[in-house]
C-alpha cells in the first residue's frame, strides 16, 4: 500500500478473513490482534469444533490418556472474531474479493489468509474404505472413533503405511497390548522422511516391541464380512492378514480443491507463496491480499536454495501463521520472510525422535553421537558438502547445536572431532533414501520445483 494512510485505515477498519480454523488459523488471528489489527476478523472452518491440537490424537488419545474431545488449543489472547464453523469455503472470487461458502453465503475480505491444511489420503477403493473398522487419522472425530474401537479390544490391528502417524499408531496399540501388523510399501518405516539407515533402526524398534512389520509389500485389497465389517487384508506377497481394525496411513492430500478455477496458484502440491507467505496467482505473479500458512502452504526457503518446501509440521504452521499475520498488516518494507529452520518431533516405542533441517534432502548421513544399535544416536545429513539436516533418537538436547550448523551452512562432514567414543560413524555413509519416483507412505516434507505454479503444464491461461 502507498503512504496515503490507507494501511492505517485498513488496520483500523479493514476486513480479514481466515479460511481454516485450526493451528495456523488461530495463531494467525491472535497475532493480528496482538499487532493491533482492530478491524473485523472472520474465521471459517469446515470442522464443527473450535481449533484443537492434532499431535495428541495419535499419542495421548490412542494411549487412552486423554480424550480426543479435550484437545482444544490454548488461547494465547482473545481474538474477537466472527466464527463460521461447520461450513467449508467452496470458492474464491479474487477480483471481487469474496469467499463463497458451501451454504451459499459470501464473505467479503480486504485480505485473506488461507490455512486449510491437509486431509488424510483415504483408502483408494471406495467400497472397501466404507467397511466398518477402516479408519484414517487426521481429525478429532477420527481419533475419538479409533480410540473407542481400540478400547473395545480388537483381535488384530492393521496399519497401512509406516510414516510418522502410522508408526505412532502402531506404538500406541502395542503399548495397549494389542496385536499389530504394519504393512509398508517402502523398505522400512520412516524411510521417506529419514532414509534407510535410520529406517532400519525404526524397523528394529517396531519388531522389538512385537509389531508384525512387513516391508516391501502393498495391501492390495480389504475384505469385509456379511455385515460389512472389515475381516481381512490381502497383501501383494500373496499373504492374508486377518484383522478387525485397519488404519489407512498413506499420507495427506492438500485442501486446495475449493480454489480450483479461482486463478490462485493452488494445486495438489499446495499453495505456492513467496517467503513472506503471499500467495502467487497461476501466472506466477504474487498477490498482495492473499496469504497462505501451515500445511497447505508451499514456500521458498532461503536455507535450501529457495526451493519450495511443503512442511507438514506443527512448528512450521505456528511460525508461518505469525509471519503471514504480521505481513498482512504491514507496509511492504516492514515485511519479514519465513526462514525458520524446519523442525518436528515424534515419539514412538518409548523413543523421542526429533529432527531439524530437511533430512530428506540429504544424500549422506554421519552418526556423530551415540549408536544405531542402542537406538540412541544423533545422525547428521549432508548434501553437496554441507550440513542439511539432523535427527535425534533420545538425543534431543544436542539438536540446537546441529541447528546452528544448518543455519550457518556448515561443511559436511562436520569438522568438529566426534567426542563420543561409542559413536558408530567416523565416516559418512549413503543415507539411503528411496527413489522419489517410487511412492512410499508419503513424507512430511515435500520438495517442489522452482516454479511458483507447477500446475502450469496443465494450465491454459485466459486471454
Amino acid at each position: 500500500m502507498i503512504g496515503d494512510g490507507s494501511l492505517e485505515r485498513f488496520r483500523r477498519e479493514g476486513r480479514i478473513v481466515v479460511v481454516g480454523a485450526s493451528l495456523a488459523g488461530l495463531r494467525a488471528a491472535e497475532t493480528l490482534r496482538d499487532k493491533g489489527f482492530a478491524g473485523s476478523l472472520t474465521m471459517i472452518g469446515d470442522e464443527p469444533h473450535e481449533p484443537y491440537d492434532r499431535p495428541p490424537l495419535s499419542k495421548q488419545v490412542l494411549l487412552g490418556k486423554a480424550a480426543a474431545e479435550r484437545t482444544a488449543l490454548p488461547r494465547l489472547r482473545s481474538v474477537d472474531a466472527t466464527w463460521r464453523l461447520g461450513v467449508p469455503a467452496a470458492g474464491l472470487d479474487m477480483a471481487a474479493r469474496r469467499v463463497r461458502l458451501a451454504d451459499g453465503d459470501e464473505v467479503p475480505y480486504d485480505r485473506l489468509l488461507i490455512a486449510t491444511g491437509v486431509r488424510a489420503h483415504p483408502w483408494p477403493r471406495e467400497a472397501e474404505a466404507q467397511l466398518d473398522g477402516v479408519f484414517v487419522l487426521r481429525t478429532r472425530d477420527d481419533s475419538a472413533a479409533l480410540a473407542r474401537r481400540l478400547e473395545a479390544g480388537p483381535k488384530r490391528v492393521l496399519v497401512i503405511g509406516a510414516g510418522f502417524t502410522g508408526s505412532e499408531i502402531a506404538s500406541a496399540c502395542r503399548e495397549r497390548g494389542l496385536a499389530v501388523t504394519v504393512a509398508e510399501r517402502g523398505a522400512a518405516p520412516l524411510v521417506g522422511a529419514l532414509g534407510g539407515v535410520v529406517g532400519a533402526v525404526a524397523a528394529e524398534m517396531q519388531r522389538e516391541h512385537g509389531v508384525d512389520l512387513r516391508c516391501g509389500v502393498m495391501v492390495t485389497a480389504l475384505e469385509g464380512d456379511a455385515s460389512g465389517r472389515v475381516r481381512a487384508a490381502q497383501l501383494s506377497d500373496g499373504s492374508t492378514v486377518e484383522t478387525d481394525v485397519v488404519i489407512v496411513s498413506l499420507g495427506a492430500t492438500r485442501n486446495t480443491e475449493w480454489l480450483a478455477g479461482s486463478g490462485l496458484g493452488a494445486g495438489p502440491r499446495g499453495i505456492a507463496c513467496d517467503a513472506g507467505c503471499r500467495a502467487f496467482d497461476i501466472r506466477g505473479i504474487v498477490t498482495d491480499d492473499i496469504y497462505a500458512a501451515g500445511d497447505v502452504a508451499r514456500c521458498p526457503h532461503p536455507l535450501f536454495g529457495y526451493q519450495f518446501l511443503s512442511l507438514e509440521h506443527w512448528g512450521n504452521a505456528v511460525s508461518q501463521a505469525r509471519i503471514a499475520a504480521h505481513n498482512m498488516i504491514s507496509e511492504s518494507t516492514d515485511r519479514i520472510p519465513h526462514m525458520e529452520v524446519p523442525a518436528f518431533w515424534s515419539s514412538q516405542f518409548g523413543v523421542n525422535i526429533k529432527s531439524v533441517g530437511v533430512p530428506s534432502l540429504g544424500t549422506e548421513i554421519l552418526i556423530s553421537q551415540g549408536s544405531l544399535k542402542d537406538h540412541r544416536f544423533l545422525g547428521v545429513y549432508g548434501y553437496q558438502g554441507r550440513v542439511i539436516g539432523a535427527v535425534a533418537f533420545d538425543h534431543a538436547r544436542w539438536l540446537p547445536f546441529y541447528q546452528e550448523l544448518i543455519e550457518t551452512t556448515a561443511p559436511f562432514p562436520p569438522s568438529f572431532p566426534t567426542v563420543d567414543r561409542r559413536s558408530d560413524g567416523q565416516r559418512p555413509i549413503d543415507a539411503d533414501f528411496p527413489d522419489p519416483s517410487v511412492p512410499t507412505h508419503g513424507p512430511t516434507v515435500t520438495l517442489g520445483g522452482y516454479s511458483p505454479a507447477d500446475r502450469r503444464m496443465t494450465f491454459t491461461p485466459a486471454h
Binding site: 473450535e50 495421548q60 479435550r70 484437545t71 490454548p74 489472547r77 506443527w314 515419539s347 523421542n352
Partner: protein
C-alpha cells in the same frame, strides 16, 4: 478448565514440569514428554508454576478465560 499444549520442538525433556505438576505432565521413556491437553481448574496453580519453571518456555497454557473465548456451536 485450562487448556495446554507443549511446543515439543522446544522442549528439552528437563522434566521440571513433570516434577511440579505430575498430574498433567509425565515423562514417557527416557526423553519424551506426555501431557494431558486439558487440566482441571484445581490444577491451575501448579500448572502456572510448571509453565513458569520450564527453562525453554515450551508449555503453552490458556492466557484468557477459556469459557469467555468459547466458540458458538462447538460440542
Amino acid at each position: 478448565m485450562v487448556r495446554i499444549a507443549v511446543d515439543l520442538n522446544r522442549c528439552q525433556g528437563y522434566a521440571q514440569c513433570a516434577f511440579l505438576a505430575p498430574e498433567v505432565f509425565a515423562m514417557h521413556g527416557e526423553e519424551a514428554l506426555l501431557y494431558d491437553p486439558e487440566a482441571d481448574e484445581a490444577q491451575g496453580e501448579k500448572l502456572a508454576q510448571a509453565a513458569a519453571a520450564c527453562p525453554v518456555q515450551a508449555v503453552v497454557v490458556d492466557a484468557v478465560d477459556a469459557s469467555a473465548e468459547a466458540v458458538p456451536g462447538d460440542r
